[in-house]
């Protein structure tokens, strides 16, 4: 029986990537980012990549490493702030960025994975995003046609996997990972824990194993926080019950 388990990012990536490929990589900001896979992609040295992700890392973190190593030709993202190298390359015309509204990007990836070549959305109608795209009325409202996205390889970060490839994500580290797991021709999952078959209850699987080709346990890296924001612990604890925005950014 074939196994899906690999020793590490390098072996999981072996023979998978090539120049000119399109790669999806999960994460929102620095949360839920497959960091070992990104490092292995950098080490692989493949070039002229198209990278699809909500962001392209930020200074010193995540996909920024691959960008800084001159491996990326084009980016599809919704937000690329806090990334000076990307900024300068973009302003100099050395890299192409296709800005996608975040929900359109998410839905395009979901559509790609679900065999839907195109769909209509109100998002972006009448804006630069709709330029060059088909627009159309349904029930008196205008919509923009957007197309599905697929990748040669998808990098997914999950919390737990079993040997079948069933995945569970943790809190907001879920973000773009589950859709990308459906939209890659080959999907590699970087996970924090490999658990035994049966330890993930069938009703609680987030990504069924059918979508996952290769799995490895991430190295013991520290997860980064982009904006550490806390509130002081009161002498007598008092919670508003709802978001206290008065915290301090550290």
């Amino acid at each position: 029986m074939k196994t899906k388990i690999y020793a590490d990012a390098k072996s999981a990536l072996a023979g998978v990537v090539a120049d000119g490929m399109t790669i999806m990589s999960g994460g929102f900001g620095l949360c839920g980012v497959p960091e070992d896979l990104i490092q292995a992609l950098k080490t692989s040295g493949v070039r002229d990549l198209t990278v699809i992700g909500n962001n392209v890392g930020c200074d010193g973190h995540g996909m920024w490493h691959v960008l800084a190593n001159n491996q990326i030709r084009k980016v599809l993202a919704s937000y690329v702030g806090e990334n000076k190298i990307l900024e300068s390359r973009y302003m100099n015309g050395e890299i192409e960025i296709e800005f996608n509204p975040q929900g359109t990007l998410a839905e395009r990836i979901r559509a790609g994975g679900a065999g839907i070549p195109a769909f209509y959305t109100r998002t972006g109608y009448g804006t630069k995003v709709a330029e060059g795209k088909e627009t159309r009325q349904f029930n008196g409202q205008w919509y923009v046609m957007e197309t599905g996205l697929v990748a040669d390889v998808s990098f997914v970060k999950a919390w737990k996997a079993d040997e079948e490839g069933n995945l569970v994500y943790r809190k907001t580290a879920r973000n773009f990972n589950p859709m990308m797991a459906t939209a890659g021709r080959l999907v590699i999952a970087e996970v924090e824990q490999l658990v035994n078959i049966g330890e993930i209850p069938p009703d609680q699987v987030h990504t069924p194993g059918i979508y996952v080709d290769r799995i490895f346990v991430a190295s013991n890296y520290v997860k980064h926080i982009e904006r550490l924001t806390t509130r002081p612990r009161p002498a007598a604890e008092q919670g508003s019950g709802i978001a206290a925005a008065a915290g301090a950014e550290v």
């Binding site: 929102f28 900001g29 620095l30 949360c31 839920g32 993202a77 919704s78 937000y79 690329v80 702030g81 973009y90 302003m91 960025i97 800005f99 509204p101 975040q102 929900g103 359109t104 998410a106 839905e107 990836i109 959305t121 109100r122 998002t123 972006g124 109608y125 009448g126 804006t127 630069k128 994500y169 943790r170 809190k171 907001t172 580290a173 879920r174 973000n175 773009f176 990972n177 589950p178 859709m179 987030h206 997860k223 980064h224 926080i225 982009e226 904006r227 550490l228 924001t229 806390t230 509130r231 002081p232 612990r233 508003s240 019950g241 709802i242 978001a243 206290a244 925005a245 008065a246 915290g247």
Partner: protein, 219 residues
């Protein structure tokens, strides 16, 4: 006397209703989270995949796997749910979020909004803003009435690239509050900050607007 940022947030908080699901943008809108009236159930949505945002964590308790759409560390509540981005934006696009409060660079009298890019400057991207204004049935924009140089931000037409067309229902500035008709029937001045006159608002506004028959005067 123009409203402070805190007072603008307080005015925006008056748009909340019991049982609402609400998305708050960064800046002044975020401050609305602290102004939910006692006894009112309001659930905060974070478009990166969370419903039921809690307060910021206590020092030393931040979790890198738990951030809001502004990438700040936050906490969960007992009733929180997490979901993937496509489901989060299905919520938004499908009209299930009751209210979106967000910032703006320019608003036009027909409800057009510009808040994502300035030509010639680095484009960071629109993030989820275009989805929010296109999908949420009630959109409230909170912004300063004028640019630092004095230029009007509430305009006949936006000069900056648009985030959405005909999407703003209510505009709250430091001077006044305007109801805007998405169908193009124009804007109505409905409320003034203390000590601000209709004439002052007219002088500092490019957009056409009518004045409501009964004009609220904040105290």
């Amino acid at each position: 006397m123009a409203w402070t940022r805190e007072q603008m947030a307080a005015r925006a908080a008056r748009e909340l209703q019991d049982g609402y699901y609400v998305n708050l943008g960064v800046g002044i809108p975020t401050m609305v989270a602290n102004l939910i009236p006692e006894g009112m159930r309001v659930m905060l949505h974070s478009e990166n995949g969370m419903l039921g945002m809690g307060p910021f964590p206590f020092e030393g308790e931040a979790d890198a796997d738990l951030i809001n759409a502004g990438k700040q560390t936050i906490t969960e509540l007992p009733q929180t749910s997490y979901f993937q981005s496509s489901d989060s934006f299905a919520m938004i696009r499908g009209g299930h979020i009751n209210l979106s409060i967000l910032g703006g660079m320019q608003v036009a009298e027909n409800g057009d909004l510009a808040n994502w890019m300035v030509p010639g400057k680095m484009i960071k991207g629109m993030g989820g803003a275009m989805d929010l204004v296109a999908g949420v049935p009630r959109v409230v924009v909170v912004m300063e009435h004028n640019e630092k140089g004095g230029a009007a931000k509430f305009k006949r037409q936006c000069s900056l690239p648009l985030t959405g067309t005909g999407v703003v229902d209510l505009l709250i500035t430091d001077l006044a509050v305007f109801e805007i008709d998405r169908g193009g029937k124009g804007a109505v001045l409905v409320e003034l900050a203390p000590g601000v006159s209709v004439d002052e608002v007219r002088a500092r506004t490019e957009a056409n607007f009518r004045v409501a028959d009964v004009l609220a005067r904040a105290t």
